[in-house]
């Protein structure tokens, strides 16, 4: 006979208004094995917790049921309460009579009946709860940062400065990311490169940071504190040690391809560094466009290299390393504008995306910072900026606000005037959103000091008209149709998640939202953590963000990673699966469905008819098991059981509800 105590919480009026607490307490007192039932206004308060502790000791309770809010809220609180009174915390069971009952019902009588049923269920399960013990698992004191943009750079630097080793993996040949493409940054107009490049150099020279550029994370196994990542260092075809970055190779290279860094506005060579301030300042050979690799001809760069650094035979290198924490900072892409034919993007060279415009005003860009029309290299006079191209557009684009466009377009309007005081910027907008420190002031400056003309309304069509562009739109404030003869049209294309974000999410075992942005563990209270323990998020991979937000989130993610890495040991979750070998048939379905690679095959010996025979069964690695329970449902004979949620416990719950 168990000695179960039931503690019913009013949650102020949250539960008490819809549930008859006295009635529930009385009913609970009569349930099987329940020897004590009481209620209190706030069970989670100190007085409430003391009530539980006292009852455990005085009534010699061996199981406790707390009927209160969701276990996600206070399970840990009551676990600690029980532990303080000397009871194993896993003997505590929560009946959720708030979210599952009082909050969703209006009728007091029915809600009371349901609360009783929920408590009866929890009591039935609690009677079968067993003591469980967490074990200590060591933490690998190294962090992996995926993505070498400003988010990844900041996170890597912070973790490294705290004294932990960091591996920074970047897919492209250089770190720097989107910020490296930008000219000036709002709202201060300081030069992007001037504030970014010192950080890039710091990353390269930091004694705690190992930089893997032109590399990708291929596989991640393991769990919090003990991840094991497979990293592919793609063949650079250039020896990182020997290369001096002199640039002779790309001067001589005869193959030309569109530059990704310059948004395809100019050509780069097949052997290239993406931009002059690249870190590392060592080129790569783009094998898809190099004549040596596509046609087995050429070899000029190898001949020309004074350092003998060119190596066509270099192969991909695959590394396996262990990490305690992972920061994901993989950034964003720009929406493809194929569905926005009315703006003539792609059909007329003077219709640009904002990122292309950014390259054109950038002193390291294709025009050396002289803003010229791509069509005839002449300075533009009238420039039309169109906001929300694909943002806040459910039908053709994304329903969300890309957040940065209002501000960078104000910046572009300012930069335009600074370059050409005669020029006129027109901005078509839906709403102007300037919620940020000094953002509104910056926007006002664009209007008041730099004369940008803001038109609330949309653009219906952009027609090529001789060497000009005819922009036809509506000014919804005056109600008039507007026609502007523009020299250049700049489209604020929506921010979208990286197209391969879902693949990375699967690889890491984290989740994505409907737009493929990575999901944080809690939108308010755990904004930098992924749902999977030990994985943290930084920057626009989690949702559209500007630079200051990205940097703050990166530092937040770094702080969370540092908290984890500074622990010697983590407590394991004792609610893991176990295999009953006598029932296990050895079909090994559990191995196939386990998302954590926690189940393995093992051979056991047993005696049948006096003979020692070998038989295969499944075995759970308790350190890898995350307690998801997939294996238990795949097991036909019921040989796999999840501790804390055993088949017996769940059957008891079902019986308590149904019978």
């Amino acid at each position: 006979m168990r000695r179960i105590g039931v503690f019913i919480c009013w949650c102020g009026t949250n539960i008490a208004n819809t549930v008859n607490i006295e009635g529930v307490t009385e009913a609970a007192g009569k349930m099987p094995s329940v020897i004590y039932a009481d209620n209190y206004k706030y069970m989670c308060s100190e007085i409430g917790q003391s009530m539980i502790k006292e009852a455990i000791i005085k009534e010699k309770l061996d199981r406790v049921v707390v009927a209160a809010c969701s276990p996600r809220m206070h399970e840990l609180t009551f676990f600690k309460t029980a532990a303080a009174a000397g009871l194993n915390p896993y003997l505590v069971e929560i009946a959720n009579i708030r979210e599952h009952c009082s909050w969703v019902h209006k009728d007091k009588q029915e809600a009371t009946g349901k609360a009783i049923a929920l408590i009866r269920t929890a009591v039935a399960k609690a009677a079968r709860n067993k003591e469980l013990w967490a074990t200590q698992i060591p933490v690998e004191c190294r962090a992996l940062v995926i993505g070498g943009g400003i988010g990844g750079i900041q996170a890597a630097l912070d973790i490294a400065d705290a004294g932990f080793e960091v591996d920074l993996v970047e897919r492209t040949p250089s770190i720097g990311g989107r910020m490296a493409q930008l000219d000036k940054t709002f709202p201060t107009l300081d030069c992007s490169a001037c504030i970014l490049t010192p950080k890039m150099v710091e990353v390269a020279s930091h004694h705690n940071i190992t930089l893997y550029t032109f590399s990708e994370v291929e596989k991640v196994d393991g769990f919090v504190g003990n991840f094991e990542a497979t990293i592919r260092k793609k063949a650079r075809s250039i020896d990182l040690e020997k290369c001096t970055g002199c640039g002779i190779c790309w001067e001589k290279c005869p193959s030309r391809v569109k530059s990704e860094f310059d948004e395809a506005l100019v050509m780069r060579k097949a052997v290239y560094v993406p931009f002059p301030q690249a870190v590392p300042n060592v080129p790569v050979i783009d094998r898809a466009s190099c004549r040596r690799f596509t046609r087995e001809k050429c070899g000029i760069c190898r001949k020309a290299c004074p350092a003998g650094a060119v190596n066509y035979d270099q192969e991909d290198e695959v590394l396996q390393k262990k990490y305690g924490a992972i920061v994901v900072a993989t950034g964003f892409d720009i929406l493809d504008l194929d569905d926005f034919g009315e703006f003539s993007y792609g059909k007329h060279p003077d219709v640009l995306t904002s990122l292309e415009f950014e390259r054109l005003v950038n002193s390291s860009g294709p025009t050396g910072g002289r803003l010229l029309r791509p069509s005839d290299q002449s300075p533009p006079k009238n420039v039309v900026f169109i906001q929300c191209v694909g943002s806040r557009d459910k039908s053709r684009g994304k329903p969300y606000c890309s957040k940065i466009c209002c501000m960078y377009s104000a910046k572009h309007a300012i930069l335009l005037r600074e370059k050409y005081p005669e020029a006129q910027a027109y901005v078509f907008y839906i709403d102007i959103r300037t919620a940020g420190k000094d953002f509104e002031e910056f926007h006002r400056r664009a209007v008041e000091e730099y004369g940008a003309l803001y038109l609330k309304g949309s653009v219906g069509k952009v027609f090529p008209d001789g060497d000009k562009l005819l922009v036809k739109g509506v000014d919804s404030l005056s109600g008039h149709a507007v026609e502007i003869e523009a020299d250049m049209v700049v489209l604020a294309a929506a921010i979208k998640a990286k197209s391969d974000a879902p693949q990375l999410a699967r690889l890491l075992g984290i989740s994505t939202d409907t737009h493929s942005f990575f999901t944080e563990a809690h939108p308010k209270l755990r904004p930098v953590e992924a749902h999977t323990a030990g994985i943290f998020l930084a920057g626009a991979c989690q949702g559209p963000k500007d630079i200051p937000e990205t940097v703050s989130q990166a530092s937040g993610a770094a702080a969370k990673a540092i908290i984890l890495l500074s622990k010697d040991n983590l407590l394991s979750n004792p609610c893991v699966s176990e295999v009953n070998e006598s029932l296990c048939t050895g079909c090994l379905s559990c191995i196939k469905v386990c998302p954590y690679g926690a189940v393995a095959e093992k051979t056991i010996e047993e005696k049948i008819h006096g003979k020692a025979l070998k038989r295969r069964v499944a075995e759970v690695n308790e350190a890898l098991c995350q307690g998801c329970g997939s294996c238990t449902v795949s097991c036909r004979p019921g040989a796999v059981n999840l501790k804390g949620f055993t088949n017996e416990q769940i059957m008891a719950e079902v019986d308590a509800i149904c019978l």
Partner: protein, 319 residues
């Protein structure tokens, strides 16, 4: 048929006397015309009693589970049996190294109920098959009839009359002329919910829970079935329709994606519950969702219910 019966005796004798196998599992004639029982022979001298006739319906591979796995066993497999054997192989329940398989091409077996229904069973002593005909022997005289008229329904829709796995094939491969196997399922799918429920309730209400459907099934190969467990007791002992429904639905789920559609469950059922329809509903759904999949037909093909693919139709594109 007669010829094949002789070959079968020879290979059984050969494998036992050479020591290649320690036991042969085959079929033996029982006292009545419709009885062909499994036979377990360890002495080469006993192989003369082995037969292959139109009633050799039982799948012998299921008996491997009862035998000591160390022993090397020779057994005969028809097309449907071979699928079941493969599924047991995939489930890790048999050791391929420990069995010697003789494949038997089979174009169909005779359902004694059909013989009876045709009014041919009275005084019947023996039934033999010659070419496409059955010869019925009586005390006085004999009668002939086209064999296909007497085949089990499951044989008429058979798609694998020739074994997909064997060490040695006995006899010539037979052609395959299956009838549409999902016709009954499609019909059931279109009937209204209440009608469907009463259809199954009517059938399940007759179930005596003899568990023959489970015992005969090559996909039901657990060491201990959950329905036999005392704790937790998944299945109540009371004669309750809901418990019986629970048993049958759970059984169908447990074999989903692993059922080889051999039809043995429906054949063995003493009260005639059309269990194969339940299994085929799953097979049809799996085929429609994940592409054609025949459990037991190809061991290299991934089992759809145990494989996660990012383009699975039930994976939403966004997450």
């Amino acid at each position: 048929m007669k010829q094949l019966s002789e070959i079968l005796k020879e290979v059984a004798f050969g494998s036992l006397s050479s020591g290649e196998a320690e036991m042969v599992i085959g079929w033996q004639k029982g006292p009545f015309w419709w009885q062909s029982f499994p036979a377990f022979i360890t002495d080469p001298g006993g192989t003369g009693s082995l037969i292959w006739d139109p009633f050799s319906v039982s799948n012998l591979s299921k008996y491997l589970l009862k035998e000591v796995p160390e022993k090397k066993i020779a057994l005969f497999l028809k097309g449907c049996d071979a699928l079941g054997f493969n599924q047991m192989l995939r489930d890790g329940r048999v050791d391929r190294e420990k069995v010697l398989l003789f494949g038997i091409p089979c174009d169909g077996l005779v359902d004694p109920a059909r013989v009876e229904a045709a009014g041919l069973s009275k005084g019947l002593l023996q039934v033999k098959k010659e070419q496409e005909e059955l010869i019925f022997y009586y005390k006085k005289g004999q009668r002939k009839a086209p064999a296909r008229d007497f085949y089990y329904a499951k044989c008429l829709s058979c798609r694998y009359p020739n074994p997909v796995i064997y060490d040695q094939m006995l006899g010539e491969a037979v052609p395959c002329q299956p009838v549409e196997r999902f016709a009954d399922v499609s019909k059931l799918e279109t009937t209204p919910l209440e009608e469907r429920f009463s259809y199954w309730s009517r059938h399940f209400s007759r179930c005596i829970r003899c568990f023959a459907c489970r015992n005969v099934c090559p996909a039901c190969s657990c060491r201990e079935c959950i329905f036999d467990l005392a704790e937790p007791r998944w299945l109540g002992k009371a004669n309750e329709l809901s418990e019986t429904q629970f048993y049958h639905i759970t059984r169908a789920y447990h074999v989903a994606g692993r059922c080889v559609d051999c039809g043995e469950c429906a054949r063995i059922c003493p009260v005639g519950i059309p269990l194969a329809e339940l299994n085929r509903k799953f097979i049809k759904d799996i085929n429609e969702l994940y592409g054609e999949y025949d459990a037991g037909a190809d061991l290299d093909k991934e089992a759809p219910l145990l494989t996660f693919k990012t383009d699975d139709p039930d994976v939403s594109s966004g997450s």
